[in-house]
C-alpha cells in the first residue's frame, strides 16, 4: 500500500486577496542589488520558450548565465511547432474579457485541479507578454487599422488569442531566441548547444549544478551554479506516438525527480482530438491539425459499424454527427478532452473510418457550401495543404480524417509559488512543471505560461532565494558530488554500449507506447492500470537485458541518446500509471471508467481528490511516496463542467 504522510508541501502562496498576492510578493521579496547580480551564476537547462525567455532576462538583469540545449541551435525547440496562438487578457476587442475571466476560464478548463494563486498571476502577466513580444518584433496578425488582431480558441466565449499566421510558436521562439542571442553576444549568457544535461548535482540537499554530455564529442562536463532552472519541456513522447517533436523527452525532470524533486500529477496528459491518424506501424510521430478547424468542420462517423462506403456515398441519414448530437450547446467546439473521448468511443464501437479504421471524419462540405471555397481556403489553406501533403487526399473534396493523439503533459515537477521544486535552488518552468493547467490545458495557454514563467515570474522569484547566498562561491566542480554524478552518468552510458542485445531502442519505445496509450491514455481503469504496472517493469527489465546500442560514446550517436531517454520513459510511464491508479475520479484529461455519470461524462470527486498528487522518489526498489497539496478554492466555486 502507498504510505501517505501528512502534507509537507509548502506552496508559499502569499497572503492577501487574489489581486494582492503577486504585487504583495513583489513588494516584500528579498532583492539582489543590480551590482550584486553579476556575483551569481544561474544554470538554465532548455532554451525553448520558457528557457530562452528566462536566460535572456537573467542576462539582462546582470546575472551570469550558462544555458544548455540538446538542439543544434537555440532557434529550435519543440515550442517552434505551436500553431494556434497565445492568450492574453488584453480585452482589445471590448468583448468583456478581463484578467479575472482568463483566470476563471483557466481554472474551469483545468477542471479545478490547479492552484488559484498561480493561475491568477498567469492571467495578470499575460498582457505584459504581448507587449514584450510585440516590441521584440514578433509579427502578430494585425487588423486593417494596424492594431492587433485576435481570434477565439478552444471553447471560450471571448476573443483573446494573439497569433502570427499558423506559426505563433515559431515567431515567439524566434523572439526569445533573438533576445537570448543579444545576451550571448554581450557575454552575459554562455550558451552550449548540442549539449544534453544528464544529471542534476546536489550538495547538502541544494541544487548546485549539472552534468552535461556534448552530443558531438561525447565529452562529459560538469557545471556549477548558485541555482539551476529546468525548462526542458513535456513528456508526451513517453507514448512513442505523439504530436511532440522527436527529441522531446523527460530525462531532465526524471533525473531531478530521482534526486528528490517531487513529481506532480504525472498522469495528467492531454490527448488532442485533431491529429492525422497513423498510416502504418512505422509512423514516427503524429501531426496535429490546428484546433481552429473545428470552427467550421463537422465531425461525424457512419451511423452503422463497419460501414466501408466512401464518405461521399454515405447519405446524411446514415451519418452520426456525434458531438453535435451529444453536446448541442458547444457541438464541435467542446474542449479537447471531451472531443477526444467521444472520438475514442466511436472507434471502440467499430465506426472508425479510413484504411486502418482509426479515424473520424472532419467534414468541410457544409462550410464550403455556406461560405464558399475561397473563404475556407483563406482560413485554412495552409492546413489543408499540409493535410494533403501527408495523406495525399484533398480535404476540399474528401473529408479529413482525424484522431486524438498525446499532445501535452499538464503533469511535471511540483513547484511552489516561486516555481521552485522541492529541492532548494532547483526550479522548473514551462511545460516541465505542473503548475497552471490542472487536469486539462486550454488552447493557446501553454505559450502564455512558458513565457510568463520565463520573462515575468522567475526573474523575480529567483532573487528571493539567491539573496541569502550573497558573497558565496558556487560549489567547486572538483567537489566529490560532481565526480560522483559524472561517474554515474558515464556508467549509465557504458552500460548501454556494453549491452550485447538484439533489439533496437525504438522497438522498446514502441512497445512502451502501446502499453501507455492502451491503459493510461484517453480512458483508464483499475484493471488496465494494474496490468500496465506489471507490464512496464517487465519490459524495462527486458530492455536492459536486450537493447542493442551500437557505436561509441565519443562521437555523435543518436541511438545512445535515445537509449537514455527511453530508459527514463519506462520509469516515468510507471509513475504515470501509478498516479492514474491513485486518482479514483475523472477530471479533465484523466478519465477513470469507474467514475462516470450515467450518460458517460466525467465524474469529479472534489471531496476526496481536490489535491495535487505529488510523488517522492524513495529508491530503486520501493514505491514512491505520495504527498498531497490540498487545493483551496476561495474565489471560484468548483462546478461540474457542462458543455451540453
Amino acid at each position: 500500500m502507498l504510505e501517505t504522510r501528512p502534507d509537507t508541501l509548502d506552496s508559499k502562496v502569499p497572503n492577501g486577496t487574489l489581486e494582492e498576492k503577486w504585487t504583495g510578493y513583489l513588494n516584500s521579496m528579498k532583492l539582489v542589488a543590480p551590482t550584486n547580480k553579476r556575483k551569481f551564476k544561474i544554470i538554465v537547462v532548455g532554451t525553448g520558450l520558457a528557457g530562452a525567455s528566462a536566460a535572456a532576462t537573467f542576462g539582462e538583469l546582470g546575472y551570469q548565465v550558462e544555458a544548455f540545449t540538446y538542439h543544434d541551435s537555440a532557434r529550435r525547440a519543440h515550442s517552434i511547432a505551436a500553431q494556434g496562438g497565445i492568450n492574453a487578457a488584453k480585452n482589445y476587442h471590448s468583448d468583456g474579457d478581463s484578467i479575472y475571466r482568463l483566470f476563471y476560464d483557466t481554472i474551469k478548463g483545468g477542471d479545478y485541479r490547479s492552484r488559484e494563486a498561480n493561475v491568477y498571476r498567469l492571467a495578470e502577466v499575460s498582457n505584459e507578454i504581448i507587449d514584450q513580444c510585440t516590441a521584440q518584433g514578433v509579427p502578430f496578425a494585425r487588423e486593417y487599422g494596424g492594431l492587433l488582431d485576435n481570434r477565439s480558441f478552444g471553447g471560450v466565449q471571448v476573443s483573446r488569442t494573439f497569433y502570427a499566421r499558423g506559426q505563433t510558436g515559431q515567431q515567439l521562439l524566434l523572439g526569445s531566441y533573438s533576445a537570448l542571442s543579444r545576451q550571448v553576444k554581450l557575454g552575459t549568457v554562455k550558451l552550449h548547444t548540442r549539449a544534453e544535461m544528464l544529471e542534476v548535482v546536489l550538495k547538502d540537499g541544494r541544487a548546485v549544478g549539472v552534468v552535461v554530455r556534448d552530443l558531438t564529442t561525447g565529452e562529459i562536463t560538469t557545471h556549477s551554479a548558485h541555482a539551476v532552472v529546468l525548462a526542458t519541456g513535456g513528456y508526451s513522447n513517453a507514448y512513442y506516438l505523439s504530436t511532440n517533436a522527436m527529441a522531446c523527452n523527460g530525462t531532465a525532470i526524471w533525473r531531478a525527480y530521482r534526486k528528490g524533486a517531487q513529481f506532480a500529477n504525472a498522469s495528467f496528459t492531454q490527448i488532442h482530438p485533431t491529429c492525422i491518424p497513423a498510416s502504418d506501424e512505422f509512423q514516427s510521430k503524429l501531426t496535429l491539425m490546428s484546433e481552429s478547424l473545428r470552427n467550421d468542420g463537422r465531425i461525424w462517423v457512419p451511423e452503422k459499424a463497419e460501414d466501408n462506403r466512401p464518405p461521399n456515398q454515405i447519405p446524411e441519414s446514415d451519418r452520426d454527427y456525434y458531438l453535435e448530437r451529444r453536446y448541442p450547446a458547444f457541438g464541435n467546439l467542446v474542449p479537447r478532452d471531451v472531443a477526444s473521448r467521444a472520438a475514442k468511443r466511436q472507434i471502440d464501437q467499430n465506426k472508425g473510418v479510413g484504411p486502418l479504421h482509426n479515424g473520424v471524419y472532419l467534414d468541410f462540405q457544409d462550410a464550403i457550401q455556406r461560405l464558399g471555397r475561397d473563404v475556407i481556403e483563406a482560413r485554412y489553406g495552409n492546413l489543408f495543404e499540409m493535410y494533403e501533403r501527408i495523406t495525399d487526399e484533398n480535404p476540399y473534396d474528401v473529408p479529413m480524417r482525424i484522431y486524438p493523439a498525446p499532445h501535452y503533459t499538464m503533469g511535471g515537477l511540483w513547484v511552489d509559488y516561486e516555481l521552485m521544486t522541492t529541492v532548494p535552488g532547483l526550479y522548473a518552468i514551462g511545460e516541465a512543471n505542473f503548475s497552471d493547467h490542472g487536469a486539462n490545458r486550454l488552447g493557446a495557454s501553454a505559450l502564455m505560461q512558458g513565457l510568463a514563467d520565463g520573462y515575468f515570474v522567475i526573474p523575480y522569484t529567483i532573487g528571493n532565494y539567491l539573496a541569502d547566498y550573497l558573497n558565496t562561491e558556487p560549489v567547486s566542480t572538483d567537489d566529490p558530488v560532481f565526480h560522483e554524478a559524472s561517474a554515474a552518468v558515464r556508467d549509465r552510458l557504458n552500460r548501454f554500449l556494453a549491452n550485447n542485445g538484439t533489439r533496437t531502442v525504438d522497438w522498446f519505445h514502441r512497445e512502451l507506447g502501446k502499453i501507455l496509450i492502451e491503459h493510461c491514455g484517453m480512458a483508464r481503469n483499475e484493471a488496465g492500470l494494474e496490468k500496465a504496472l506489471s507490464d512496464i517493469p517487465a519490459l524495462k527489465e527486458e530492455f536492459y537485458a536486450d537493447v542493442k546500442v551500437l557505436g561509441e560514446n565519443e562521437t555523435l550517436n543518436q541511438s545512445l541518446e535515445k537509449a537514455g531517454r527511453v530508459a527514463d520513459f519506462f520509469e516515468l510511464g510507471e509513475l504515470m500509471c501509478r498516479d492514474a491508479l491513485n486518482r479514483e475520479e475523472s477530471c479533465g484529461g484523466h478519465f477513470r471508467e469507474e467514475h462516470q455519470t450515467d450518460d458517460g461524462e466525467a465524474l469529479r470527486r472534489d471531496d476526496e481528490f481536490a489535491y495535487v498528487a505529488s510523488w517522492e522518489w524513495t529508491g530503486e526498489s520501493s514505491d514512491p511516496r505520495l504527498h498531497k497539496e490540498q487545493l483551496e478554492f476561495e474565489n471560484v466555486a468548483p462546478t461540474t463542467r457542462s458543455y451540453k
Partner: protein
C-alpha cells in the same frame, strides 16, 4: 516499394567520407522520407551495422532541423517542402536515391548527414534582434503597424533556418537566410532604430563564414518556405545606406 539508397557516410569532421549503398525494402508510399530512413536504420542496427546519423526533430516542416541533399537537391524533388514532409509516393519503385549532407564551407560535417550550422547563430548574435529588455515594452497597441508591413515581415520571418539556401548556392552564400532575418525586423516600425546598424553587422558577420552572392537564385528555389529574393534586394539597399551612414558617423565623407 523497393529502393536503393546511395548514402554519404563520414565518421567525423576530419574523417574521409564515402558513399555506401543500402537496400530499402518494403517501403510504403505513405511513409515520409525520414520514416523510410528510420526503417533502414532499424534494419542496419539489427544487422550490427552503425545506423545513418541525420538531423531531424519536428517532422512537420517548421523547426528547420532536417537537412538532406536528395538526388542533388536540398530537401529533395518536391518544391516548397522540407525533407521531413516529403513522402515516398514522390519516388518510384526501383529508384536509386542519392542522399548527402548539406555541402558548404560554412557548414562543416559533424557525422554522416549531420552538419554544423552554428554560423547562422553568429549572424543573429551580430544584430538579429531588437534591443528591448524584458519589462520595458510599452502597450502593444500603442504603435499601430500597417497590416501590409506586418504581413511582409511575417513573409520574411517564416524562414526556418534550415540552410537549404546555402546548400543550394554554388558559392555557398547565406544571403537568403540573412536577408530574411534582416528584413523581418527592418520591415517593422519597432525595428527602425537599429535598422542600418543591424544590417551592416549581420552582413559583415555573414561574410566571415559564407561565400559571396552572385545573384544565381538557386536559393529561393530550394527554400522550403519560399522566401523571396526581394528580401536580398532590401538587405543590400540597407547595407549600402548603413555603410554610408557609418562612415559619416566616423567623420569620413560618403
Amino acid at each position: 516499394m523497393n529502393l536503393t539508397l546511395k548514402v554519404w557516410r563520414q565518421d567525423g569532421p576530419a574523417a574521409a567520407g564515402r558513399f555506401v549503398m543500402y537496400d530499402a525494402t518494403d517501403i510504403s508510399p505513405d511513409m515520409s522520407f525520414l520514416e523510410m530512413l528510420d526503417a533502414v536504420n532499424e534494419q542496419l542496427i539489427s544487422e550490427g551495422q552503425l545506423p545513418i546519423e541525420f538531423d531531424h526533430d519536428c517532422r512537420e516542416g517548421i523547426c528547420g532541423t532536417c537537412s538532406l541533399m536528395i538526388d542533388g537537391i536540398p530537401h529533395g524533388p518536391q518544391l516548397s517542402t522540407a525533407t521531413c514532409q516529403l513522402h515516398m509516393r514522390k519516388f518510384a519503385d526501383g529508384d536509386t536515391i542519392t542522399i548527402e549532407p548539406w555541402r558548404a564551407a560554412g557548414f562543416p560535417i559533424v557525422r554522416d548527414l549531420v552538419v554544423d550550422r552554428s554560423a547562422f547563430d553568429r549572424i543573429i548574435e551580430a544584430g538579429g534582434f531588437i534591443s528591448v529588455a524584458t519589462g520595458s515594452a510599452p502597450d502593444a497597441n500603442l504603435m499601430p503597424v500597417p497590416q501590409a508591413a506586418a504581413e511582409a515581415a511575417m513573409d520574411a520571418a517564416a524562414c526556418i533556418g534550415c540552410g537549404a539556401c546555402v546548400a543550394a548556392c554554388p558559392n555557398g552564400a547565406a544571403q537568403l537566410f540573412t536577408a530574411a532575418k534582416v528584413s523581418h525586423l527592418n520591415l517593422l516600425p519597432q525595428g527602425q532604430p537599429e535598422r542600418l546598424m543591424r544590417t551592416v553587422n549581420m552582413v559583415d558577420t555573414m561574410e566571415e563564414y559564407f561565400g559571396s552572392c552572385t545573384n544565381i537564385g538557386e536559393c529561393t528555389t530550394a527554400c522550403p518556405k519560399d522566401i523571396s529574393l526581394d528580401f536580398i534586394a532590401l538587405m543590400n539597399r540597407d547595407y549600402v545606406r548603413g555603410k554610408v551612414k557609418q562612415r559619416r558617423l566616423t567623420g569620413q565623407r560618403a
